[in-house]
């Protein structure tokens, strides 16, 4: 801990459902079984840090569904929340102010922030100017609860934790951004390396039917339910590497999409891979919502990613 630079902390009065520290993630560790991790929704992560004038690899708090209730002890801080999130600022004088995403707020000693829920989405982000004082593992603070690595000793943030805040060197003006998370109708994919393992009907079902996001969905993977995708070659392949976005179909015919904390090796056939441009939107699909896939070419996917990145940059540029 950098004593002297820390003048305030956030006391966790309620942890929320799946509250972790995340940043841009860690690379070059697949060969020992460590996935990228990092913030699930990269755009909202970048916006959160940018709003409070942090560098883009500063750790933030990611929460899912219900977020934490936090109380500030110490010097005033500046914070921002991104995503589609309902939250309140509870002032020390008992005044309750309804919070807006993509807007910065000051919190003073004794004030609380109550992150009630994400609205029609899964993940939201809390960034504090200066960042949190957390340890790095292989150049990233991202918490991977499965390998027990990253900030907070690889554990979720718990009730009673004191989150230390590094003092920001900058003077902050309050900022506000006009941005709304839009939904997309379809998740675009590229055919996977085992696409031909599936029957003609199976392929048709995959590209034409809707699938429901199951409750068995977390940072590791998203399980889908719906019409079964029939395999006519082999329901297993020799175990091989996986990447985020890969859609595997095990013997039961229900697809599973690999997400940021995925196991790095798997033995189910790969029917498709979600394109990079649609990953941030994909992770925000709540259990119970419907997903429809659409096939695109590699060329289209590369262009769509260029457009998506440019769009993100334009939004970031609006934050002055």
């Amino acid at each position: 801990m950098r004593i002297g630079m820390i003048k305030s902390n956030l006391e966790v009065l309620r942890a929320g459902i799946n509250t972790t520290y995340q940043d841009l993630g860690r690379s070059n560790l697949y060969q020992i079984g460590i996935p990228f991790s990092g913030a699930m929704d990269n755009r909202n992560y970048l916006l959160a840090n940018n709003l409070v004038s942090n560098k883009k690899n500063t750790p933030v708090i990611e929460f899912a569904y219900q977020g934490p209730l936090l109380k500030l002890n110490g010097e005033k801080i500046c914070l921002a929340i991104t995503g589609n999130v309902n939250f309140n600022i509870l002032k020390k004088n008992l005044k309750v102010e309804k919070g807006n995403c993509y807007q910065t707020y000051y919190l003073e000693d004794g004030d609380q922030i109550d992150i009630l829920s994400t609205n029609k989405s899964v993940y939201g982000y809390l960034a504090v100017s200066g960042g949190f004082d957390v340890e790095l593992f292989w150049n990233s603070s991202s918490t991977n609860t499965k390998a027990k690595i990253g900030a907070n000793n690889g554990e979720k943030i718990k009730k009673g934790n004191l989150i230390q805040i590094l003092k920001s060197q900058k003077i902050h003006q309050l900022k506000k951004l006009n941005y709304f998370n839009t939904k997309i109708e379809q998740i675009r994919i590229i055919k996977g390396t085992n696409y031909d393992y599936f029957s003609e009907d199976g392929k048709k079902i995959f590209l034409e039917k809707k699938f429901t996001v199951s409750k068995l969905t977390d940072r590791m993977g998203m399980r889908l339910e719906g019409p079964k995708i029939e395999n006519v070659v082999d329901t297993n392949i020799r175990s091989e590497g996986l990447i985020k976005g890969v859609i595997q179909v095990p013997a039961d015919g229900n697809p599973i999409i690999m997400l940021s904390d995925h196991g790095t090796i798997g033995g189910y056939p790969k029917i498709g891979v979600v394109i990079s441009a649609d990953y941030d939107k994909l992770v925000q699909f709540q259990p119970g919502s419907k997903i429809k896939f659409k096939e695109v070419s590699l060329f289209e996917a590369e262009n769509l990613y260029k457009i998506y990145s440019m769009e993100t940059q334009n939004i970031l540029n609006q934050i002055s």
Binding site: A147, K148, I149, I190, I243, E302
Partner: protein
């Protein structure tokens, strides 16, 4: 050599070394892995070797499939000597409380525990790959007499340290995790150590592993306790 290169999504290269799984093909995969790693190719974010495939991920902001494919196709392959590969001796206790599937192995293989262990222990296993969960080594090849399919219904929780067999491979569960391998014992050794910054995985692709038996007492008194 690589038989085919294709794209896996828009941000990864999928190098296929064929269908077979053997030490020779896997050594080629690992040699490619080492060469690519050495070259520090712009935009490459991960290189994942497995039995007979190599997946290379890249940052789509910095490069693309076509560019990486050209680099890989024209890579000047050097052979790295295998001196860096090491022999790792791993203690396991095979008392019944740890050998969760010994009865299933005995029944299905029509063999005795002693015979099964004799066929399993004190033999050299080659590490084909590491992963699934952090540091988990995929080792082979196990003696033909003790090859068995995975459990029909996988366990929700396989205890940390468990040593499992499936078909011609064996592995070590470095963390408590779901899994369907036939558990034959448990090792007190720390096979994955996150505090070892440079080399957290004890067993890496290309290494050789030997399992040797220890008593319950030795297990309990192991210094490297979990």
């Amino acid at each position: 050599m690589i038989k085919n290169i294709s794209n896996l999504g828009d941000a990864a290269l999928y190098c296929d070394f064929g269908k077979e799984v053997n030490k020779e093909i896997n050594s080629k995969v690992i040699n490619y892995f080492k060469n690519i790693k050495k070259q520090n190719i712009t935009g490459v974010t991960n290189i994942a070797p497995s039995y007979n495939k190599l997946i290379i991920t890249f940052d789509l902001k910095l490069t693309n499939f076509e560019k990486i494919r050209e680099v890989i196709k024209n890579i000047d392959l050097k052979t790295y000597d295998n001196n860096k590969n090491k022999l790792v001796k791993i203690p396991i206790c095979c008392d019944d409380e740890f050998a969760l599937d010994i009865n299933r192995l005995e029944t299905n293989l029509k063999s005795s525990k002693d015979q099964i262990l004799k066929n399993f222990l004190n033999r050299e296993y080659f590490c084909y790959m590491t992963g699934f969960i952090a540091g988990m080594p995929f080792l082979g090849d196990v003696n033909e007499k003790i090859r068995l399919k995975r459990l029909e219904t996988p366990r929700v929780k396989v205890p940390k340290g468990s040593v499992g067999i499936t078909e011609k491979f064996c592995n070590i569960y470095t963390f408590e995790s779901p899994g369907g391998w036939n558990i034959i014992g448990n090792s007190p050794l720390k096979v994955f150590n996150k505090l070892n910054d440079k080399n957290p995985a004890l067993v890496n692709p290309g290494d050789t592993v030997i399992f040797y038996k220890i008593s319950k007492k030795e297990y309990e008194n192991w210094n490297d306790q979990k």
